[in-house]
Amino acid sequence: MNDTTRGERGEAREELRRDRRREYLLIPQAVIALVIVIAIVWVREVFFV
């Protein structure tokens, strides 16, 4: 392996942390999708069945 500078490694480590944190966005995204789906099913059950 090559000799990367401490700065480069520090930046890479910070980017890794950032990308790892960005994965937590999947949770609210799924919640938004789920809420919309539940709302549609609720409309169906209340007004159409």
Partner: protein, 498 residues
């Protein structure tokens, strides 16, 4: 005698119900996959990844790439990666244009960084071309990792470093990036492909990360550790039309983990017409038919070996895509048969099937458009018309009973006659199969003058999903007839975003 007919009738009803249930299998599999996607927040490989900059040999297979190769080399040299740890090998597959001359120029300007490897006899396919380069690279001990790519894709500056960090874990054999549709001149087809890539990569491959089994690491951005390449024989397996899928399977069968890195973005130019898409996907689909057969002893054998390719979830996912056209046709036959025997039961199972499909589709598309903001903003129409306008209306009809067939016509003073109602029901039940015929028709008329307008219109009407299914049917036929398996390269013009 009556008892015999009763039994026969009941058996027939059960068989038809099974047919309809076949259509539910891919829907449920997709639903499970999309429920798994958010779990990637907790079950991912980031915890075991470290900043890591191995010496990487980049393999660029090139055949008549004069329009794109210079820009590709320039961008690779500009990657945010230690300069001394990067070498670019352009493997020229006996090009007849200026590709070798252009690469020679770069070789002279960047000695020790850019290399031209020339094959005098080409046309055998990408795997053969790559192997020519891999043999050279593995011939000395410089390279610690090998990146396989396509000549026309653009690696965003940080993408390679985001991929290599996973190789710090010796259990990882290969890493793939997110190949995003990146054509400069977008049209309806590239927008459909863009949303397909979001669903198939950003969503599905995250789920595969969680499940621990990968179907295919994209051939346009496949980073292997040297140890992994050597373990699978020091070459990309040849003999199929899906060399990237076979390499992915072989790596896992040799006990190494595959990782999809969603934040490493690679832009690619994709087909802008149905015909070009058909040719590209026919090659992929035929490759998948071959892979299904080659690994027949792997499927649905959980706990066998050091990999998860035999898990039920992975097998269900693979065959749900592979056999989707069969499922759609069987489902139509089941619904029409039940309509003739027991129309009430037919309606009940139709609603159960289509409501499940609608809920899954809405959930998956809502996740999909959020995963990549750029694609979500530009392709949200294609996301919601992915199954086609007609299927979209059928889903609304299934979700909201009476809305389409009664409420809406009554607003215009119209009412369906009993015959009209039966014909409409028959059409709806048959639609998922008819849609594939519509997709085939869209390709047929595309080259006509009227086709320039009607082909996109028909594609929106029947849907992009059924278009892919029609191509899969074509692949079954071509494989069954043992049609020539020529490796036809997808035509590229260098219109990817700079």
């Amino acid at each position: 005698m009556d008892v015999f007919w009763d039994v026969l009738y009941n058996v027939l009803v059960i068989v038809l119900l099974v047919f309809v249930a076949t259509g539910a299998v891919p829907v449920i599999t997709a639903a499970v996959h999309f429920v798994i996607v958010p779990m990637h927040a907790f079950f991912n490989h980031y915890g075991k990844a470290e900043p890591y900059f191995p010496r990487v040999a980049i393999m660029v297979p090139a055949w008549n790439e004069a329009t794109v190769i210079s820009a590709t080399i320039e961008r690779l040299l500009a990657l945010e990666y230690p300069r001394e740890s990067l070498r670019i090998y352009v493997i020229d597959d006996a090009s007849t244009d200026d590709t070798p001359a252009i690469v020679s120029g770069w070789e002279a300007r960047e000695p020790g960084r850019v290399f031209l490897l020339r094959r005098e006899q080409g046309g055998q396919g990408k795997a053969h071309t790559l192997n020519h380069g891999i043999r050279v690279v593995l011939g000395d001990d410089w390279a610690e990792a090998v990146l396989i790519m396509d000549a026309d894709v653009i690696f965003t500056p940080s993408s390679l470093a985001k991929m290599t960090r996973h190789l710090s874990d010796p259990k990882v054999g290969a890493v793939s990036a997110y190949i995003a549709e990146g054509s400069r001149d977008r049209n309806y087809m590239t927008r459909f492909i863009a949303i397909e890539y979001v669903l198939a990569q950003l969503a599905s491959r995250r789920a595969q990360n969680v499940l621990g089994a990968h179907a295919c690491l994209a051939g346009g951005a496949q980073l292997h550790s040297r140890a992994n390449l050597e373990a699978i024989g020091g070459a990309i397996p040849t003999g199929t039309l899906a060399e990237d899928t076979v390499a992915t399977f072989e790596s896992q069968l040799h006990g190494r983990r595959m990782v999809f890195e969603p934040h490493a973005v690679v832009l690619a130019e994709e087909p802008g017409t149905i015909d070009a898409l058909w040719k590209q996907r026919l090659r992929w689909a035929r490759g998948n038919v071959q892979v299904s057969s080659i690994y027949r002893k792997v499927w649905f054998r959980p706990g066998h070996g050091v990999h998860h390719l035999g898990s039920i979830a992975f097998g269900a996912s693979w065959f749900s895509i592979f056999l989707l056209p069969f499922a759609m046709i069987l489902s139509s036959i089941g619904l029409v048969g039940l309509l003739l025997l027991q129309s009430d039961l037919a309606e009940l199972v139709f609603r159960a099937l289509w409501v499940t499909a609608a809920v899954t589709y809405i959930f998956s598309m809502l996740i999909g458009v959020q995963l990549d903001g750029r694609i979500g903003r530009s392709s949200w129409r294609e996301a919601f018309l992915f199954p086609g306008l007609v299927s979209f209306v059928v889903m609304i009809a299934a979700l909201f009973p009476g809305l389409i067939e009664e409420t809406l016509p009554s607003m215009f003073g119209l009412q369906l006659t009993p015959v009209g109602h039966t014909l409409l029901t028959l059409f709806i039940y048959l639609w998922i199969s008819l849609a594939m015929l519509g997709a085939w028709l869209a390709r047929v008329i595309e080259k006509t003058r009227a086709g320039r307008f009607f082909s996109p219109f028909l594609t929106y009407l029947v849907g992009y999903g059924p278009l892919l299914c029609a191509i899969t049917v074509d692949s079954y036929i071509k494989e069954w007839r043992k049609a020539d398996a020529v490796w036809i390269k997808t035509e590229k013009t260098g219109r990817v975003l700079g």
